[in-house]
Every structure is written in C-alpha cells, then in structure tokens.
C-alpha cells in the first residue's frame, strides 16, 4: 500500500506532489525536536471506507506555518543585507590576497596561495545573493540547507579575501585554525558542563562561576605544588564543589535555578577576588605562579602538514575537550545513566514512576558536569599565563552558555558552536593585525555580532529539555 499517514509528531513520511499547488513540499524529514511549529501537515480524509479502497482518497500536503515563513524571510533578508555589504566591499578590494598555509618556522613549508581579491569577493557576493533568492522564494525547501552552507562559506571567503587583498602580510591559515581550537577549548568544556546539567533538568547559568573558581584553584594549587596535574585536579575539584552548591540549592532546597546561577556567579567572583586580594596577591611569587600546560605532540601524526599542528600538537586540555564531547555524547545516548539523565530532564514524574531516583540522578549529572567546567576553568590559568587575576574568565562562561543554547543542548552541536565562536574570535584578532580599515574596537566585537546574527537569523527558536529548570517535588 502506498498510502501515507501523518506520523504522530506531525511530519509526513512521504509527500506526494500535488499538481497545481503553490504551497512548497518541504520533503526533508525534520527531527521532532526542531520541527515543533515549523510545518503543519494537513490530511484531507474522505468519509470512512474500507482500507482497500482508501488508496487514492488521502491527500497530504505540507503548508508552511506563519512562523516558519517569517523565520525563512528574515533569514533571507539577512543574507541579502550581507550580500549587499559584500557587493560594496567589491569596490574596496584591490590587489591579490595571499593565504599562507604554514608558518615560517614549520618544517614542511606549504605553498602560499595567492588569489586575485576582486573576483573572489565578487563571486562571494553573487553566491550570497543567490542564497538570498533561494530563501526568499517559496518552494525551494530542499535547496535551503545547501544555500545556507554556501552563504556561510562565501561570507568567510569573501571577507577574508577582502581583508587580505593588497596587504603586505599573508593571512595565516594555520594560525587561524590553531587559535580556533585554543580559544574554543574552555567554551567546549563549559558547554559540556551545561549539557550534563540541563539535560537532567537543572538550569546552569553558573558555568562562569564554576570556571572562575576552578581557574583560581588551579593557579593556587599549581603554584604551591609546582605540578600541572595537581592544578588540573584542583580545578576539577573546585568545579565539582561549585556544582555541589548548585545541586544543593537547586535540587534539594528547590531554589529558583536562574536566580541561583546568577548568585553563584556573584559568589564565585566575590570569593575569588577577596581571597586573591587578601591572601594571594601579597605573596604572588609562591601562590600565583603555576606551571603551564605543555603542548603534547602525538608521535607521527603531528608531522602532518597544516592539520598536524592544529590537531596533534595541542595541550592535554584541548585533547580532553575533544574527547569529552564524545564521552558526554556516549554517556547521554548509549548508557543507562544517560538515559536516566535524559528522562529526568524531560519528564521527572514518569521517571520517578518507573523507579528512577530523580534527585540522585540530577545530583550525579550536576556533579559530573562540574568536572568539565573545572577543566575548562583551568584553561584560563594553566593554559595561558599560569597566573590568576580578578575575573579572569571575562564572561567566557556566558559564551559557553550561549553555545549550549545555540547547540540545542546536544554535546556535538554545542561543541561546534563553541568552535564557531572560537573561529570568529580568532578571525577578529588575525584580521586586526593585518591593518584593515575597520577599527580594532569593532573587530573585537566580531564574535558577539556574529553570535547575534547566527542566533537571530539562522538558529531561531530552540527548545530545551522539557523539565529544564523545574524542581522536582515528589
């Protein structure tokens, strides 16, 4: 039988084309988490007949909801604006743009790629314009995802070509990639902490505070013991300790979790600054001079040109961050514990009914999340200068929170968003050194502007775990 019925979540399994119908057939099977309001499938059923006779009577068609339409048009408009800006940049581009694939000191020297600036920027602008058309016209559903990808790549290529064209120094591609991973490391770990907590139903706005405390602990313990490993463990302990405060008040004492997160951030900032001023600063030689994490080169692999330096010659923290993404995914999706975490985050009452101890599972998830936040926090001291300073995390915990939400509470996606943020951050500082006409004050803002654009234009409404932030009372 080739009849198609709407599935319970509202997505059609197969949409037969309806001739003469202007409405687009958005045929891609979207996942249930995202598709909540984006499309409505209507079935026109004839009066009841025997199933054998039913074949030709069912008409399925997908109409776009007002909200999805608005989202599509605003994305299209956004790409259109970017295309217009890019077209304007065409007039500002002259000379060739050079991209150096390896640094001057690398053993294997890769060639420096030279491209003519103006044509590349022009092609990027045209590609962006084409992507804009795909979004604005109805009925191009299947092309939209590709158009988005092309638009993103064209934006980066066009912007870089414009920035690098006619400059005396080439754009350093390997620096860009290395910096991306470096800057993203604490963000990935912070976001993973958020994933663990929030998938179990505990809102964690306190990632910032956890990381700050961990950074402090890592610096002090690392300095006293002279050991990086001790510093890392101290950081993890501090992260878990702040996680325990979060769990105690959120799960056991049922405090409002957003409030709690803000308060923990304040507490962490106050405590670390107070202890730093009154104890650490007077003897910073002994207490604030921790050893640094050394890059670990993975044998053979680090010699791969370009990628070797980026992926296989990093500090232990970067490896741990990447491994942790897989670990968190594995825990959540492939273990019993993870299934329980997700179930208490979505529907604690149902979980309780089948005998899961909601409170214990939430506690365990929050404490486990603290490990990741602690590791992320150690980056700011052990990974950079080895010394602590007031408010050394400078709001990176909030960026991790943003990555978590943009990544729809999933480890892989959240890590990608953290990498995106690291990429744009590094891009801003790289372009800054090339001497473009943009003021450095604005280039510093690039990551934040890019995040707003990404959230507003491309990601839109997201939905977290159903019971996120709701305390459970038996």
């Amino acid at each position: 039988m080739n009849t198609t019925y709407p599935r319970p979540d509202g997505t059609p399994e197969k949409v037969p084309p309806v001739p003469g119908d202007a409405a687009p057939a958005d045929a891609e099977p979207s996942d249930a988490r995202r598709a909540d309001e984006s499309s409505v499938t209507t079935a026109t059923l004839a009066p009841y007949r025997h199933p054998a006779q039913l074949d030709e009577e069912v008409h399925l068609r997908t109409t776009e909801s007002a909200e999805a339409r608005r989202q599509r048009l605003s994305t299209g408009a956004l790409i259109g604006i970017v295309a217009a800006v890019m077209l304007w940049l065409v007039t500002q581009t002259s000379g060739t743009a050079r991209f150096a694939l390896s640094n001057a000191l690398d053993e294997v020297q890769l060639p420096t790629i030279s491209v003519p600036g103006l044509p590349v920027v022009l092609v990027s602008a045209l590609l962006l314009a084409a992507a804009c058309v795909v979004y604005v016209l109805p009925g191009m559903g299947r092309w939209r995802r590709w158009a988005g990808l092309v638009a993103g790549l064209a934006l980066v290529a066009g912007f870089l070509s414009w920035a690098a064209a006619g400059r005396s120094l080439p754009f350093l591609v390997s620096n860009q990639l290395q910096g991306t991973l470096l800057l993203a490391t604490p963000l990935i770990l912070g976001a993973l902490c958020g994933v663990m907590c929030e998938r179990s139903g505990v809102v964690n706005v306190a990632i910032e505070g956890q990381m700050l405390t961990a950074a402090f602990a890592a610096a002090v313990v690392g300095s006293v013991t002279g050991s990086v490993t001790a510093g890392l463990f101290a950081a993890m302990f501090a992260g878990v300790l702040m996680g325990a405060v979060l769990a105690l008040f959120a799960i056991t004492y049922l405090m409002d979790q957003v409030v709690l997160g803000v308060v923990i951030n304040l507490l962490a900032l106050g405590l670390t600054s107070f202890l730093f001023d009154s104890l650490v600063k007077p003897q910073s030689g002994e207490l604030n001079d921790a050893p640094l994490l050394e890059p670990i080169q993975i044998p053979l692999l680090h010699k791969i040109p370009l990628l070797g330096d980026v992926l296989f010659s990093q500090t232990i923290l970067a490896y741990l961050a990447l491994i942790s993404v897989v670990v968190v995914w594995f825990i959540l999706e492939r273990t019993v514990w993870g299934l329980r975490i997700r179930s208490v985050g979505e529907h604690p009452k149902a979980a309780d009914t089948v005998g899961i101890n909601v409170v214990a599972i939430r506690w365990s998830a929050v404490l486990a999340g603290g490990l990741f936040a602690g590791l992320g926090g150690s980056f700011f001291t052990l990974g950079v200068t080895g010394a602590f300073n007031d408010d050394i995390t400078v709001g990176k915990g909030f960026i991790a929170l943003a990555a978590l939400i943009m990544g729809r509470w999933r480890p892989g996606l959240a890590a990608l968003m953290a990498l995106f943020f690291g990429f744009v951050d590094q891009l801003g500082s790289q372009v800054q050194t090339m001497g473009t006409p943009i003021s450095s004050d604005w280039l510093k803002l690039l990551p934040y502007l890019a995040t707003i654009v990404a959230v507003a234009g491309l990601i839109g409404r997201v939905r977290g775990p159903a019971a996120d932030g709701v305390p459970y009372v038996k």
């Binding site: 909200e67 405590l271 009154s278 707003i452 932030g469």
Partner: protein
C-alpha cells in the same frame, strides 16, 4: 506564583515567619562573611592553631577584626547625614536597573542585558549633556534624561524584537549586546564626537551644569533618587493598574494561555524588553548626570557604569521583582556598597567581601528551607507545617532558559 512580602498590597497579613527567615538569612550571611575574614587574614589564622592553650588570642584578634570591619561598614553607610545621602544616591541606579530586570522577570524574560542598556543610556545622555550648550536647566536636563532612557529602551528593544521576530533567546542576545555596548563605548571615546578635546586618553568632556541633576547642598543626594522612586511608582502603576501590565503578568505566567486569550505574545515580549531597557537606561543616566563625588558628574569613561547592570540582577531577585521590594533591596545594596568603601579604607578589608555578603544574602533568602534547617528553633516552630516551595522570582514556571 506566590504573592509574598512584595508590594502587591492585597494581602495585609504580615508573613512573620518570612520576616524571621529573612532576618536569619542576613545573620547567617554576615556570620559566614566573618568566618571568611578571619580565615583569610594571615595574622589571625595562625592564632587559631594554639586556640586551646590560649583561646583569648584567637578570639580577641578575630573579634577585633570582624567588629572593626562591620562597624566601618555600617558607619560608612548610615553614620550621619553624609553617608546616608551617599547611600541614597548610590542606590538610585541600582533601583532603576533592578526595576527593569524585575519587570522582565514578570514577563518570564531574563534580561541579563541591563548592563549594556545602562552603558548605552549613560553614553547617549552624557553626549546630550556635554555637546549641547546654552540651554536652560528645565529643557536640557529632561532632554538628556529622555535621550538616555530612549537609548536604553532601543537597546533592550533590539533583544525584544529579535526574540519576538526570530525567536532568538534573550539570554544569548542580551549577553552579546552587553559586550557590543561596551565595545561601542570604547570606540566612541576615541572619536571626536565623544573624546575631550586635547586629551589622548578615552575620556569625555564634563557634562554641562544645565544637564546635571540638582542636588541638596552639601550632600551627595541628587534628584536622580527622586526619579528612581517615581520610576518605582510608575512600574507599580503599570503592572497593577494598566492593561499592558496585566498582559505582561499573563504572558509571564503562561504564554500559551495568553496567546489563546488573544494577546500578541510577541508584541508584549518586545514591549516589555523595551520598557525594561528604558529603566536600565535610566540607571545609566543616573551615573552619567549625577555627581557622586565632587561637584560635577564623573566624565564618561569605559568603566563609568561599573557593574551596576549585574548588581541590579541581584537587587531584582532579592526584591522578588516587585517595585517596593526592589526599592528596599536597592537601598540595602546601595548601603552595602557605600559602606564597603569605608570598610576598605578604615579596616583594610577588600571590598569584594561585599559581593560575597550580597550573594550569600540572596542565597539564603532564596532557600528558606535551608535557613529553617540551620536554625533549630525556627524548625521547631514550623514543624507542624509543610515546607513551602516558593521561588524568589516569578520567572515563568518553565524556568528562565527553557521557554
């Protein structure tokens, strides 16, 4: 949603147990603060190691240290007309921004962006204040105030519009807008429009006297505090006596039900964020146009607004998002901040202790069950009753991040 100590005014019954719990929350916070001071003092801590042979050493030194710090704190905030007016002046921006954040809370929105909105408000009101010359006070001051409020409202409105139009999460957008506002201020102070002629460092000219808040002779209390009280009354009026206020509360309690009842949730979201931003902008105006020390307002610099927008989150939380509560919480935090300066100069205690105390107070006030557990006689009195599970801020039942 529980109508508690706040200003709702419909329930006259005074919740004595709440008052007692709040009182003990303060006592616990100050006790922990004292412990922290003693533990972190390199001279006192060793005296505890021989506590059992000579307890008087440790106890005496600790008592001296703690009592000195706390008496400086109280004296610096409330000791005499000078400190009291200074406290009031310092509370004004906290109250304004706290009102804005509280208003957003009641619509189920978490406005972390008060900082950025205050920065933009300060920036624009200062610009109007120092670049226009020769206007009378009665025209210039309102103009500067309104410009700052409008700028804050626009900045908050961006986040609101993005949430309403594209569904962008307000927590993300307001965090990003904070950074952008601060970066914009840093950039603006290098342009000829903002930078003081003849100066190389990023600092603006001094605001004209005609755009400065008039103040009581010989004190730090300026008209901004009156504006803050008026704003509190205005918010109360808006929330309790107007249709828009009812809609804001309805959307905060249950967006789906409000939409079903015919309200435009997205319009109300955007409007609420704009009003909230306007109030935060007013906080920025207070900083830019009020003379907090000396005779003229501090000229605009990158750090002028400080962390008012973030402190105000705690103020709104402690005030349970109600206008009267926010005013009281703002006064308390203003007093603590003012006293903290004195504590630093008189007792050499880092002012960061104030931050710890404020966090602990909100923590304990927000978890009445913990206070009841820690204070035995309270527990005994409440033994017969079921524990209450009220939240401090009436964020929509979904929690701040899951909407």
């Amino acid at each position: 949603m529980s109508e508690s100590i706040g200003s709702a005014g419909r329930r006259i019954r005074l919740p004595w147990s709440d008052v007692v719990v709040t009182l003990f929350a303060f006592i616990l916070a100050f006790l922990l603060g004292a412990v922290l001071m003693v533990v972190s003092d390199p001279e006192i801590a060793p005296k505890w190691s021989y506590f059992f042979s000579r307890p008087s050493d440790a106890l005496g030194a600790s008592w001296d240290k703690v009592s000195q710090a706390y008496s400086a704190l109280v004296g610096g905030a409330l000791g005499g007309i000078g400190p009291i007016t200074s406290t009031l002046a310092r509370s004004a921006p906290l109250i304004c921004a706290g009102l804005g954040i509280g208003l957003a809370f009641r619509a189920g929105l978490f406005n972390i962006g008060a900082q950025g909105q205050a920065v933009v408000g300060a920036m624009i009101s200062a610009l109007v204040g120092f670049s226009i010359k020769g206007l009378p006070l009665a025209v210039h001051l309102p103009l500067a105030v309104l410009a700052g409020v409008a700028a804050g409202a626009a900045w908050g409105g961006i986040a609101g519009a993005l949430k309403a139009r594209a569904g962008a999460h307000e927590v993300i957008t307001t965090i990003m807008l904070n950074y952008i506002a601060l970066g914009m201020l840093g950039w603006a102070l290098t342009t000829t429009l903002f930078q003081r002629p003849g100066r190389a460092d990023p600092i603006s000219p001094i605001v004209e006297w005609s755009a400065t808040f008039p103040r009581i002779e010989g004190t730090q209390l300026h008209m901004g505090f009156v504006l803050a009280l008026l704003a509190a009354f205005g918010v109360w009026w808006l929330m309790e006596r107007t249709k828009l206020g009812f809609q804001i509360r309805a959307v905060g309690s249950n967006p789906s039900a409000s939409a079903t009842a015919g309200m435009s949730v997205s319009t109300i979201t955007a409007t609420t964020m704009a009003i909230s931003g306007g109030l935060a902008g007013l906080a920025g105006v207070q900083v830019a146009l009020g003379a907090i020390s000396g005779a003229t307002p501090t000229p605009l610099t990158a750090g002028l607004v400080g962390s008012i927008g973030f402190d105000a989150i705690t103020v709104a939380l402690l005030g349970r998002s109600r206008p009267l509560g926010t005013v009281l919480a703002g006064l308390l935090f203003g007093a603590m901040n003012t006293g903290g300066l004195k504590m630093q100069s008189a007792a050499q205690t880092p002012p960061d202790l104030i931050m710890v105390l404020q966090a602990l107070i909100v923590l304990f006030v927000g978890a009445p069950m913990l206070v009841r557990t820690l204070v035995p006689f309270l527990k005994a009195r409440r033994a017969g009753k079921a524990p209450t599970t009220q939240a401090v801020a009436p964020v929509a039942s979904q929690g701040g991040l899951a909407s």
